[in-house]
């Protein structure tokens, strides 16, 4: 079974500190990986995808096939980054989401 693992349920960092949300996947082929974010009282929405290799809201994520990881990073956390973050992978027609990491940025 395809699985996405997010080992941290809760993560707290101080404003201005670096943040890294971990994600590991188990798909043996060429996965397509995403980070989705859910801000308080908002819908789940796409943050970034690995094929785009872009930085969104200061966040980046690099696919590491050797470590089967797709960690989300931001060098300087902001209060507005507090949200629930989900890592997801697309294998064919199905998306598999991780269990999510709740990020709190402390002022």
């Amino acid at each position: 079974a395809q699985r996405v693992t997010q080992p941290e349920k809760l993560l707290s960092v101080f404003k201005g500190a670096p943040v890294e949300l971990k994600c590991n996947y188990s798909y043996s082929g060429s996965p397509e990986l995403f980070w989705y974010v859910q801000y308080s009282r908002q819908r789940l929405q796409l943050l970034l995808r690995h094929i785009s290799r872009e930085s969104i809201k200061g966040f980046t994520a690099d696919l590491n096939k050797g470590e089967t990881s797709f960690h989300l990073k931001k060098p300087f956390a902001q209060e507005e980054d507090s949200a629930m973050y989900y890592c997801a992978q697309n294998t064919g027609n199905q998306f598999y989401f991780g269990t999510g990491t709740s990020l709190t940025v402390i002022p």
Binding site: Y36, R43, I51, N90, N93, F95, F97, G98
Partner: protein, 116 residues
């Protein structure tokens, strides 16, 4: 554009009752999905559809049925609700399901269902 809408927003059922959740999208998306979100479990795919008239099972399909009679609507049915089906249900849609830039999923606001 309303995007993805879900009806109802909240519902309380008694064990054994039935109900249908409606998902509608106005983006002309081919793919639609139903997920359930439970604490500590993340989002799990229940059923999905790759086009009008087609449905397929996801990761946790037992106890649910779906129909996609119209391209813009995706219905999720619970024939005999059980307390284990207490959850938040999310609908999503995407233009495509395969790899590429068009498989971004757009989510609805969710339906909170409680089964007593």
């Amino acid at each position: 554009n309303a995007g993805v809408t879900q009806t109802p927003k909240f519902r309380v059922l008694k064990t054994g009752q039935s109900m249908t959740l409606l998902c509608a999208q106005d983006m002309n998306h081919e793919y639609m999905y139903w997920y359930r979100q439970d604490p500590g479990m993340g989002l799990r795919l229940i059923h999905y559809s790759v086009g009008e008239g087609t449905t397929a099972k996801g990761e946790v399909p037992d106890g649910y049925n779906v129909s996609r009679l119209k391209k813009q609507n995706f219905l999720l049915g619970l024939e005999s609700a059980a307390p284990s089906q207490t959850s938040v249900y999310f609908c999503a849609s995407s233009y495509s399901g395969t790899s590429g830039s068009k498989n971004e999923q757009f989510f609805g606001p969710g339906t909170r269902l409680t089964v007593l």
